[in-house]
Amino acid sequence: MMEAMFIYLATVCVVCAVLTVTLRQPVYNVLSLLTLFFHVAGLYVLLNAEFLAVVQIIVYAGAILVLYLFVLMLLNVRTQSRHLHRQWPFAVLILGAVGAMLVGALHSGVWGSASGESTAAAIHEIGDTQAIGLRLYTDYLLPFEVASLVLLVAMIGAIVLTKKSLIDDHIDQIKE
């Protein structure tokens, strides 16, 4: 049952990921990305990472995808006749090499079993959200606080980049 679910989810993930970069209609790309996000959430559920699964749906499928759609509507991207970037053979080569390395590492059993305190059994005992919380807010405090700075930079950057356009919109409205 678990293996059947994994094979289904992983297959749909790969198919949707390929469709995301190869379909010609930009909106279809975004929608296949949405399917990909939902199936990745399913993979997280299989791994007993329920918190990550919910965050995957709320943040990626809920917020980031909307951002992509708005960017599409903003840029007014039309159907492209030439939809593959000319560097795609390089991309396939490099990603193929990285993929082969990953498969090789998984087969060799380097990452076969978790070690240290946060084993699957320990996380199952206290709950995955609690495990994330306890680690993040004690051992990984600095990355957490740095994350707030990254969010701040993203916020200010977005406003600075669009500020001119916002002012232009405002001037247009006053003229009308």
């Binding site: 917020a63 509507m73 998984l106 079993s113 994330i132 969010l151």
Partner: protein, 131 residues
């Protein structure tokens, strides 16, 4: 098969709580599929030109649907993503709050203080105003 060694799938802790969710998805998918396939068999089929036009509230479409949208949508979506992530960080913090205590409270206040700077900036620049 790699998955038998527990690399991709752990057979140790099966998320059985999610079986109802799976059944729900199967029923929802089956309902959609059956309706979609059964519909053409039972419904009358008498198309004419006007009926096949794309419509929106009864008015005939007059221009291309792909129009550039104002920049405001982008900034609102971007701010939504950022505050969404902030709220996501608060959830595991709230779950373990009774175990990390005052230390946790101070670090979360620091986290929010940094983001309040961005919030005040966004508000001051008028990015939250629609008109």
């Amino acid at each position: 098969m790699v998955s038998r060694e527990g690399v991709f799938v752990t057979t140790e802790f099966v998320p059985t709580d999610y079986l109802p969710v799976l059944i729900f998805f199967l029923i929802a998918g089956a309902f959609g599929g059956v309706t979609f396939l059964l519909g053409p068999l039972v419904r009358p089929h008498a198309p004419y030109r006007e009926k096949l036009l794309p419509y929106e509230c009864g008015a005939p479409p007059i221009s291309d649907a792909r129009q550039p949208f104002p920049m405001r949508y982008y900034i609102i979506a971007m701010l939504f993503v950022l505050f969404d992530i902030e709220a996501v960080f608060m959830y595991p913090w709230a779950v373990v709050f009774n175990q990390i205590g005052l230390y946790g409270l101070v670090e979360m206040i620091l986290f929010i203080a940094v983001l309040v700077v961005g919030y005040v900036y966004a508000w001051g620049k008028g990015a939250l105003e629609w008109d």
